[in-house]
Symmetry: C2
């Protein structure tokens, strides 16, 4: 049985507002024009990060480009990369945050999709360091989706080291309260994050990027 | 043929993270506990408004409560109201912002859904002033969805006056640039809005609310 999560797929414009292709084309043009040092690619968790103050404070200064598209699944990110969004650029780091929209699939399939994205980034950007974020908790209380996501995270963490110059980053630990609930102050819809929620998770991404960029600097004698 | 937009419907939790019901229950509890002067009800356009500085600056001081749930269609808002979110409260104004997620339906059906929400609010809150926002432009350039939304807006504007103490508010005019495009600076995904985009649209809602609340104040001799 083939796994849909690893088959590069374009999003069909069923409604007729062309939003996905508009975003893809804009992102492709921005990658070519801005020579980013860091690229974040993924779904709405990435896309909406730019709407919060934390983006301008922590990420923009690192010359980060936001390549998130809301609703994207691993197969859509694969299609976008195959279509050339990373052509002719040489970022020092790529952050991959994808998979929560694939969670109607078995965890093995979702993990394979995430790993396929990392492999494709490795292929088109051989020298770039690749960070793969853990999927973040969703739903107010413990629920089947969270358990499936935990499985995805475990598989990705175990298998990612087979791809050189990669690191799996657990970024969700501070989001859960002691009783296991996700606060609406961090995630009003229990999926997307407020500034407070982003600070609890993406500050860890920023910290890791700073380390990677420091190592990537050429040493002048 | 029955119109699905006017049939109160619960969102099914197909994935298993219970997000919709968690939001509904929290909103219901907040309505009972906070005695809001203003309630905004609708979809993600309403829900995500609370994530931006404009909420704390302009809306929170008016004792506004955010009853938006991402992805909601008119039939879902109808279900939530029927389930009693507005029981035992007496807000001075209700802002309705719903319909863009119904846009796979013919404009007549969507408009009927929006009007049905206004009628139900009128029924459960007989003394409250009702504001109905226009649907906001989506898609980067002119497209079939926008044209259908324009039709919805026209029908709602024409028929709303049959419901007492209501006003239709066109709030999207400042969002389109002279060439008809929606800027990614205002709406990065051409659907949801940045702080800049919200300022161009929801400042008009705030202005209207200030007027309504001033009139609603009891006059002391």
């Amino acid at each position: 049985m083939s796994n849909p999560c690893v088959i590069p797929t374009m999003v069909q414009d069923t409604l007729g507002d062309g939003r996905w292709m508009s975003q893809h084309k804009r992102i492709k043009a921005e990658c070519q024009g801005k020579e980013p040092d860091v690229v974040l690619i993924g779904d709405s968790i990435v896309s909406f990060l730019s709407l919060q103050p934390i983006w301008n404070e922590l990420f923009a200064p690192l010359h980060c480009l936001n390549c998130g598209i809301g609703g994207d699944r691993t197969e859509h990110v694969l299609w976008r990369i195959k279509d050339g969004i990373f052509e002719n650029i040489k970022p020092k780091a790529v952050v991959i945050h994808i998979g929560t929209n694939n969670i109607d699939q078995p965890p093995e399939n979702v993990a394979e999709g995430v790993l396929e994205v990392a492999k494709l980034v490795r292929e088109v950007l051989p020298e770039t360091f690749i960070l793969v974020d853990s999927l973040l908790p969703r739903g107010q209380t413990s629920n089947p989706v969270r358990l499936r996501q935990d499985e995805v995270n475990q598989i990705v963490e175990r298998k990612l080291p087979s791809i050189p110059r990669t690191k799996f980053l657990e970024i969700g630990s501070d989001l859960l309260q002691s009783d296991g609930t996700l606060s609406h102050l961090d995630a009003p819809d229990y999926l997307h994050f407020s500034e407070a929620g982003y600070r609890k998770s993406f500050t860890l991404v920023h910290r890791e990027l700073v380390k990677i960029l420091a190592q990537a600097q050429p040493h002048h004698a």
